[in-house]
Symmetry: D2
Subunit: 347 residues, 4 copies
């Protein structure tokens, strides 16, 4: 932490800052310049909220030097962590491919989807049971009924299940059925929910908030890990910008940057970023090339009848084509795709 004094700050003010630092367990080292004094603050951790030092007389600015996260920091595991979702490793050489409908709508819809995505090479199943919707008048998900259908689909296909949890009181229920709990973008800083999923043992997919900085995203993960659950998987799903063409702007830089900061696996969700299925495959390829550990893609057998997010869902044939195009691409960046299960062998 560095405290920058205003030009003209008095020696008394410099000393007052040093005394305050000492009280907080820091040693303050002033540097006297021609124009200004800066004070290096060295020592204590974890970091208290030193911004209040800006309120001391003569202080212009406090500059933080170290990142605020610790448990999720790359230094903790420089080789990178592999998180197991059911029997599927996320974070290793093999890419994770999570596919399925935005929302579970019926047994038929779910089974048709899971059969198709498994055949094409997906190794994890997604499907919403509780849906966060901007409007209270929109379809809100089938709830526990959907969880049961997801569990049944896993029985038939072997694909572990990822599904979103919206509230503290759903955590126990969802964890009974699912192999991994997803925290959606809107809940990235729902700290009560973060703590709750941190206190149970199923792995957690943490989507980046629509306007969350990379640092805030990692701090949200830190909340989960700090409760004892180290199995956190980050998911970049697009950020909110001025560009109206796409639903969100997929921030592939976030994959590249976060990779250097954290040991946690990082996936990309091209579906929510694009908002239109025509653009999903291009973004999926960009995500893999940027170094993502896998993808999370929405697939629906009849998007024009979907109860939510139809415009961004791939049909099974388009998803299959995407997977085909990903095979050489994955190889080109030193990764591999999960095994495909041609339909004859499926289910």
């Amino acid at each position: 932490m560095i405290i920058v004094m205003r030009p003209g700050a008095s020696q008394e003010q410099v000393e007052a800052v040093q005394q305050r630092l000492a009280a907080l367990g820091f040693a303050g080292h002033p540097i006297y310049g021609d124009h200004q004094v800066v004070i290096g603050a060295i020592g204590a951790k974890p970091l208290p909220d030193l911004e209040v030092l800006e309120e001391l007389p003569g202080v212009e600015r406090v500059v933080r030097v170290m990142h605020p996260f610790k448990l999720v920091s790359r230094e903790v595991n420089p080789a990178g962590s592999v998180v197991m979702v059911g029997d599927v490793p996320v974070g290793g050489r093999q890419l994770a491919v999570i596919a399925g409908p935005c929302a579970v709508e019926s047994e038929a819809q779910l089974m048709e989807t899971v059969t198709a995505v498994r055949a094409a090479g997906a190794n994890l199943l997604r499907g919403g049971a509780f849906k966060p919707r901007s409007s209270p008048y929109s379809f809100q998900g089938m709830g526990e009924e959907a969880l049961k259908l997801l569990a049944a689909a896993r029985e038939k296909t072997g694909l572990p299940v990822v599904t979103e949890v919206l509230a503290v009181r759903q955590v126990e229920l969802v964890a009974q059925y699912a192999d991994a709990l997803q925290i959606g973008a809107r809940n990235m800083q729902n700290f009560e929910l973060l703590r709750e999923v941190g206190r149970q043992s199923k792995p957690v997919l943490l989507k980046r908030g629509m306007s969350a900085t990379i640092e805030e995203w990692l701090m949200a993960a830190e909340y989960i890990v700090n409760e004892g659950n180290q199995n956190v998987i980050l998911v970049e799903r697009g950020i909110r910008t001025f560009e109206p063409a796409t639903r969100s702007t997929l921030d592939v830089s976030a994959v590249v940057v976060a990779r250097g900061l954290t040991h946690l696996p990082i996936l990309v969700d091209p579906s929510h970023a694009a908002g239109k299925w025509q653009w999903v495959s291009g973004l999926a390829r960009a995500g893999v090339a940027a170094g993502a550990d896998g993808l999370m893609v929405e697939v629906h057998p009849h998007p024009e009848q979907a109860l939510s997010d139809g415009p961004q869902a791939l049909t099974p044939p388009v998803f299959t084509e995407l997977m085909r195009s990903l095979a050489p691409l994955a190889q080109a960046v030193g990764r591999s795709l999960p095994q495909r299960h041609p339909v004859a062998a499926a289910v």
Copy 2:
């Protein structure tokens, strides 16, 4: 709702859209242009998620014509609603002035603050008991102990209390002590929490999310009102933009625009927007001039010792000076300030 067909869409495709509309309870009226066909969809409400029509062959785009909110719409109460917080009206001619510390830290800190802000003319008290913090290592609030101190402060001063609720399981507890529940920016789309505060009777202050559009903000309010609680107060507190100088960018346009769309009262929180106390008063004045129904301001007797958000807290003398400057300004825009309680008479 208008469905824009692609140039070259076939008559069969146009008819398929019309059939689909009919199945959804809409009448479709095609307009044949030289270049393109557009179809006006008229009828059903509430609006289903018609975006899926974009998935039908030949459809280029679906354009929504009506706003998606209903209960919070200005048409419901063109004169504008007044929400009572304790005995204080919010939304009428008199401005509401909510002041107090970011977080309750001790009885002494709270009482020193409330005495000062009441003397200066604040008519509502704010103070955090449960604090949402980006870092799990930061001060998280005193919890119920703070709620008791807030209630005690109300007893002594008569100022109704506003405090934040972070989780569904805190709602009942907080509602026992507080006169209004605040939903923070990070929870604006925590739909479970919105529903929960909608099911109890205390008024709700709904802060705008950091990257929420005005429409999403109103839809979040719609969630609360849709559960039966009509006493919602909107709070603009700055949005996230590229500008690094301020913590957020106070969007005064949102006050002006939302005023035309909804009957709910709208406050401005200049403290979180600014992030620095030096800028708070200027933003507070801008908010009132833009037509806000009041302000929510952080005040701390010793900001350099504050456990959270010290840099943006006004000291009591600065707050008093702000209130003085607001008196003629309020009058200039046809409003008035709450009565001041000079210290001799206070507590």
Copy 3:
């Protein structure tokens, strides 16, 4: 400037940084912490581009401590500068009110407008002769013919004229007719144009770029002043954000923040920010309350026939009403409006 070394950087690396600093004319003062070394760099000015030090081995980050602008810095003239546009002072106690059509379209349109805005109390006339348009197929302005009409309007009414200059080769021509040259948002970092208007003597209105930080805006002003022209007036006109309701988001914080950083006068343009005339008056009032030195407002006698930006133009009666509402507001913030010229006395 502070150089933050990576954890584990070697003593050789620290010394290499110090040697490099010395070669650039800086003295480097290392502070040895438990975890990291930071080096304070003190001395030389003007600042070279020290970011390249980040490329030296062992360096993590370079943190700039001082602002990069000098000539426009508030310290140069703590009392604040007053810039004369014709005989109208901008930056003093009296607010400047620049009004007129987006584009000059005809003598009748211009004279009808200027008569009305002068009567209502505007003391400066705006009107576009050269228009920057997103589409090459849109109306591009009447060019020199418009400049002549503006000059004639000044003759008749006494209002000095402000008009935009789009290109280096227009500067001389526009400066012959206008009393102040405007640099539009799209040209805020057209450095050749900034230099050119800096080399002539007419005052310059510098609009903030749609995604320019406050610091970049001030650096653009620094370009002009650095060429010898100190008569620069800043204009906040809204920034680009994710919010689709308004054309831009008026950043009133920028007025508050820039006021503390620079001695130059600062105006607000509520018309371009709003994009809709219904919202212009509210934003204008917010701008004045935030401390702006004046306003720049688009007025058109028949907005529905305007060749550009009709939706955001006020009609003369609405502008007159705005001016009436501003009088007590200006007084409330210690300012005054220009004198009104009731129509009987006008022209």
Copy 4:
């Protein structure tokens, strides 16, 4: 174009809109709904600025249905255009790789760079002669001297030269030396400059503005093509968002989306987006995977001594490694890299 009337608009108002449309050469087709009337406007082109219709009584909103660009529209050349820069095709199967220093600093620096990048497989040379800098005190480029060095480098290596032009009066000079003229992000809406480069015959690289929508970017290209120069190459270089980690946010979606809208080639500049060399290669790979027609990369033999943008420059070995990693990736997306020229054969 669709005109949405307010609920309750009168029949007279609907007819007034139709009359106005007729006067503008449009046929208006009203659709009467239960709640609202909408009017489809069909006919005339090019599109006038119909937004002014929002000013007619009873009109709520005008919705544009067609894109505003024509000459750059994909429909003009569905197969996609190939633009020749010297003898290098941009837009075909083979990727274009433009590499070189941010700014030309000396003959030695330039020749060392060009030799290295050619050996690694770059087929076009970039280097700044005129530099747009946020600060007037930063290095502004060597001007014509740099142009001569670039031309000499082309003589020796055969690599065509791309360099930026900042001002109308530089166009002729730069066009004498360079094989393609670059318009920088800050000048994307410098319409005078766009027209000027549209009136000469050298191809133009048009960088996307930092806060330009994809549509505005294409309209800027339309300005150039409308003057007669069809040889325009688009360059995505990152947009400005709230994320502070990277200099800009590379918008790979823009490649995917613009590909569907325009026939022009599209490149990606990962260097300016990243701002840090460590992140450039990941972003370059993402750009190619997203479908870009090539890359524009900054390379400097001694980044720590660079006079501008050193932190984002790759060293020759890192660039060589990037090119190696791109070979299988390009193949995976159906593209190829330019031929490499091992150093023994170079120059």
